[in-house]
């Protein structure tokens, strides 16, 4: 072993590297030669000796294989096309081709047909403590095939002149069913009670709303800024989960 070798000079390194690598094995050289010859003469129109059938066989094999590949690819494309077309048709039927209202209507009518025998069910009267100052009394509320009608009477000791107090009576709500589906409520404020109705104005969405829900959750929300002077931008509502309350439906 030479202990005086250096690893500093670039040329020295080059020499060392060049001599360090094993020589190319003969077998490898022969393999390369063979591969080159095979590829070189495979498709060339060469004059073959009587006992040399390799090229013809290979070419025939290649042609057959290529034809097979083309046929298979065409079939695949055809099948994919049919599947995509079918899927698109089904999708557009459900989602886009028909006017949303028509779809909703058909759903609603189906639901209505199914539930025409259903009776109007009264929502149990209940008093819910929302916070230390306010309770909500649910009265004369019903669930029917056409939707839910809620009448809520808010009883509060809050001084509404105090801005820190939440005025539930004029609060906007989201309603969430027990499946977590949320809907914006359209409410009709009254002097002593606020009635919020799900039904007439929500007929289009009634099928989405689970009338079999065990309960609904009322979630107050506010719109940032002054909602009277500024334009309302959907999706900017601030949910007040802390003051949400649950109404039992059954």
């Amino acid at each position: 072993m030479n202990n005086k070798k250096t690893f500093v000079n670039h040329e020295e390194i080059m020499d060392q590297f060049v001599f360090s690598f094993p020589e190319t094995p003969e077998l490898f050289k022969q393999a390369v030669q063979k591969t080159v010859e095979k590829n070189l003469y495979q498709k060339q129109p060469i004059s073959r000796s009587d006992n040399d059938y390799t090229s013809t066989t290979d070419n025939t094999h290649n042609r057959t294989w290529k034809t097979l590949k083309v046929v298979t690819a065409s079939l695949c494309i055809l099948i994919i096309g049919v599947v995509v077309y079918s899927a698109e048709s089904a999708f557009s039927y459900d989602q886009f081709s028909i006017d949303d209202r028509q779809v909703e209507k058909s759903f609603t009518s189906e639901t209505t047909t199914e539930k025409t025998s259903d009776k109007i069910i009264s929502i149990p009267e209940q008093t819910i403590e929302i916070d230390s100052r306010t309770t909500a009394r649910v009265i004369n509320s019903t669930i029917s095939p056409s939707g839910i009608i809620l009448n809520i009477q808010f009883i509060t000791t809050s001084d509404y002149s105090n801005k820190s107090s939440r005025n539930y009576n004029s609060t906007k709500y989201y309603v969430e069913d027990s499946n977590g589906n949320r809907k914006l409520l359209i409410g009709y404020p009254g002097d002593a009670a606020r009635s919020v109705k799900l039904g007439v104005n929500w007929s289009a969405d009634i099928d989405d709303f689970d009338t079999d829900s065990e309960y609904i959750k009322m979630i107050p929300y506010t719109i940032p800024g002054n909602s009277i002077t500024s334009n309302y931008i959907p999706g900017t509502e601030i949910m007040d989960e802390e003051h949400s309350f649950i109404i039992r439906l059954k």
Partner: protein, 169 residues
Amino acid sequence: MDKDTFAKLVIESTDSLYRISKSILKNDSDCNDAVSEAITIAFQKLHTLKNDNYAKTWLTRILINECYRQQKYHHRIQLISNKNESVMNYLEHNHSTSHPISENYYDLYEAMSLLNDKQRLVITFFYYEGYSIKEISQLLKVSQGTVKSRLSIARQKLKQYLEEEYGYE
């Protein structure tokens, strides 16, 4: 480029093809497979080669891809730290070689086996094949900075190993 010219180029590049494949694959039979496959692919796609000047670079690129494919397919990732195997391979290949000086440098070849694939490949391209940094970056599809960094780390590792194990100065 016509097939005859390309065939000549391939034959002339045999040593180079071996070194490159050997930098990624440790097993000679795997190298054989990878190179044969690369040559076949190159012949089949020869009509797609736009600039004849890049024929060798193009073939090298195909070979690299094929080597990685082989490596992945066969799950034959060699343990580069397997010192004995490397030395055995080296001695086996060089036992009957005609140039006597090669026996003095098996330590460097062994040290190379300690590098990872990427570093070894860069060293092979730079020192054995004489490619420039720019050409290597195009071949490996990495930035020139990355090539320089790999080269530098590889050199550092080689230096350290040779100093510690073989008393290089």
